[in-house]
Symmetry: C2
Subunit: 488 residues, 2 copies
């Protein structure tokens, strides 16, 4: 990796200021849209300067997806965030949201750029973004794109952090495509996951550029837990299901398009992809994040190409990628989230989507976000973008939580993020429940037999018996729906 010259990083008449000066230009109660997705590619120095400013801030922070500690820990601990959209993954932000000291609304990823453009969310006063290089009216994003193009277009002002720790050659991966406003929007012309339909640059109005800041700090990336034996069994069941499915599903005739959700389970499942027998078919990843597991697949020649909006790798994964960016550029495309998560393209390609959950109920409703219906974990992210529009929507989760004390297969989900209409198949370490075409009572029987942990099956069957006394298309006993183990 060669050290790029300043001229490569900053082109044209652009004034560089300190992070503190840039932070000072942001009003106490500003709506700030930040770059970043999958915990990478987010601005670092300006949020830190805001946190350290000692000012009485009540900011609204809008990110494309999850960002690092500089925003969701340091700014939170400084009491600087009043509102937060649409996703977070840090302990500090999670606690503040659940204690109601930050007002939070999680939103679908695909539509978030439009949420800002249409006024569904606050219009950003300023966009603060990380770049590998900047010019007078463009910049090249770093390790993620997310909804940054829309944020920049809709924000009054722009602050750019040029991060020397992010390689300039990341530009070789990027494909920025900007849709017009409805009703003059054109169909997204993407027909293949490895196709490029835009440019590496995000354009902006030159008058909006308020400050450029130089930084040299790595992303505070995800770290992943080592897969437990339970997760390995889950992965094996998923692999067996997918090996069958690609043979019977007509959308997989020549090529298999896969998506995996974010997180430790997602990463472990990506790693287990090597064991799927796709019968010689081309395997393509069309998702929202690229995690380390996928890099292994690319290196092993098992994956033709990978498209996402974020390089959500560990530090080690980033090192591998950065060491050979030009070679990876033939197979890896990083897109805005309005393209990576676009309903039309997910459906057009026939993606098989695999996402995880907090709990799944007997009738196929999925809680992806709130423990006991109240405490948010991260947010819905892109799980519904993919599950809702996939050719096959798989929910993969361990059958229990809390060391086996809590069943993740429950009578009634305490919060619903994906409805019964959006789930095809549930996989746990116990087995596979194929819910397609089944009526609710049939789904319940299948989920109990195939997916629930044996220690909960009897109580779940007792619930169904109680519920069937009330009757109805979806039998429920509302008195014991959330207290089903202690009932009778």
């Amino acid at each position: 990796m060669t050290v790029p010259s300043d001229a490569d990083r900053i082109a044209g008449d652009v004034r560089v200021v300190t992070a503190a000066a840039a932070a000072d230009s942001i009003a106490e109660d500003a709506a700030v849209a930040v770059s970043g997705f999958g915990s990478v590619g987010y601005p670092k120095a300006v949020p830190q300067a805001l946190a350290a400013s000692g000012r009485d801030l009540s900011l609204t922070i809008i990110s494309g997806g999850s960002v690092g500690d500089e925003i969701d820990t340091e700014l939170v601990e400084a009491g600087a965030i009043a509102r937060r959209y649409p996703f977070q993954t840090r302990a500090a932000s999670r606690a503040a949201i659940n204690e109601d000291s930050i007002a939070f609304h999680d939103r679908h990823i695909a539509g978030l750029g439009d949420d800002v453009a249409f006024g569904t969310l606050p219009t950003p006063d300023v966009a603060v973004v990380e770049a590998v290089s900047v010019g007078e009216d463009w910049f090249v994003p770093s390790t993620s794109i997310g909804q940054t193009p829309s944020f920049v277009r809709n924000a009054d002002r722009l602050v750019v952090e040029v991060n020397d720790a992010q390689p300039l050659d990341l530009r070789r991966l990027h494909d920025v495509y900007l849709p017009a406003m409805p009703p003059h929007r054109e169909p997204i012309p993407l027909r293949r996951a490895d196709e490029r339909i835009g440019t590496p640059r995000i354009p902006f109005d030159a008058d909006a550029l308020t400050a450029v800041v130089r930084t040299d700090t790595r992303d505070a990336t995800y770290t992943f837990r080592e897969p437990t034996p339970e997760v390995r069994d889950l992965a094996a069941n998923l692999g067996a299901f997918l090996s069958d499915e690609v043979r019977r599903n007509p959308v997989c005739e020549d090529v298999v398009h896969l998506q995996f959700g974010v997180g430790s389970i997602g990463n472990a499942l990506m790693g287990e992809l090597e064991s799927i027998d796709v019968g010689g078919r081309d395997l393509v990843y069309y998702g929202e994040v690229i995690q380390d597991g996928l890099l292994n697949m690319l290196d092993a020649g098992l994956l033709s190409s990978a498209s996402a909006t974020s390089l959500a790798l560990t530090v080690e994964g980033q090192d591998r990628l950065f060491a050979d960016l030009n070679a990876y550029a033939d197979q890896v495309v990083v897109r805005p989230a309005n393209v990576s998560n676009a309903p039309s393209i997910i459906r057009r390609l026939g993606v098989l989507a695999v996402n995880s959950a907090v709990e799944v109920d007997l009738y196929g409703h999925v809680n992806a976000t709130h423990v006991r219906g109240t405490n948010v974990v991260n947010g819905i992210g892109g799980s519904s973008d993919f599950s809702r529009h996939a050719a096959v929507s798989v929910i993969a989760l361990p059958s229990t939580a809390a060391g086996g004390d809590v069943s993740r297969i429950v009578p009634m989900a305490t919060h619903v993020d994906l409805t019964e209409h959006d789930v095809s198949v549930v996989v746990t370490e116990q087995g596979v429940a194929d819910l397609r075409g089944l009526a609710p009572r049939e789904r319940a029987a299948e989920l109990i037999t195939e997916c629930a942990h044996p220690s909960f099956r009897e109580d779940l069957r007792a619930y169904v018996e109680r519920a069937e006394r009330t009757g109805g298309h979806i039998p429920h006993d509302l008195e014991t729906a959330f207290d089903w183990r202690s009932a009778e």
Copy 2:
């Protein structure tokens, strides 16, 4: 209206048989896909012949949307239906589903054609469709299209009912567009609601044509209740909201695209559209059904054009339309449901969607289908296709049911069809709650103050106070969530 000759109705070497003979060609346990949507355009004689056959039938019936009594009453009462997808609106089918004598799974309308093509639902053995005319390898559908093109393409065999009671000139309204299978699917090239991108004919494999039957029976269309004073107040609140929204939302700068859900409330709201002040903007309907209220708007010159998949008119409305089909053809387009309800097009046009519900909870989750979480009413239909992808998603419903005894604003929805992520605004006869950008606790306060009936506000506030003792991002007291009025 001129009476067409046989040559107009039937072209080429096509053998006409009796309905009884056609019914006999269908196996006892066949999966039968039928045309029909919005209670119009469905086959009549063959289902009646099946019901009257005295055979021991256990059919799977897949329709595009709701169909008439010939299918969802007569076949149900004959005990001939074992499985039913994805939507129904008749008392007999509703009762059979809730008594578990018919296995039912409701599915989104937009994806239903793909559900059949991908094997998510059973592959139809035979498609039975209504047409205004038929040739050796094509037919022209009658008063709806729904997912009939996909049903016909995926069914092994085809039975066509040519209905002389449906005018031949209906062909002037139709625009059939057939997408390819993923991953070779192209973007849908529709850019305007009044554009035509296909042909009036649905093609089929000539070898699949098993029988043609002649009929002469009108659709058993919807009848609508006269709007109550409550629904009139609701419509007035909606009109006031929309008049404001079109002025502030950038997607409405030149032209306003609207969708309204099916049913008596939808019809009443369509009728009240005349009172919306759109400030000189073009008004366009892009929805799934055209009801009588829209016809009034077209006749009054208040609507530029209307696109849908069904002419779900009353008999009187059909008479008005049929009397002047050539004139209406300039403004009305009937499309397959995979286009009328396409996520990409709803978003591309920036549709403002208005749908109704059984209940809405304090945090913005919507139950559109199941009373007390158990008894299905009709099905989700296209309400999520539109709400999920609209620029603005409005839920319009009376604040109470059962003569005022039951609040439709509840602490926790007993079934969730639209999540908190998919609802922008709730309107009742009491007022308007704009939930955009609000955190869950803020949404609860807004819904209680603006939308709940005054007689329930105190109990709802008491619930929120109880729930806040538990805390969390979405406060809930799971013990009293469904029994909130009798608590404390």
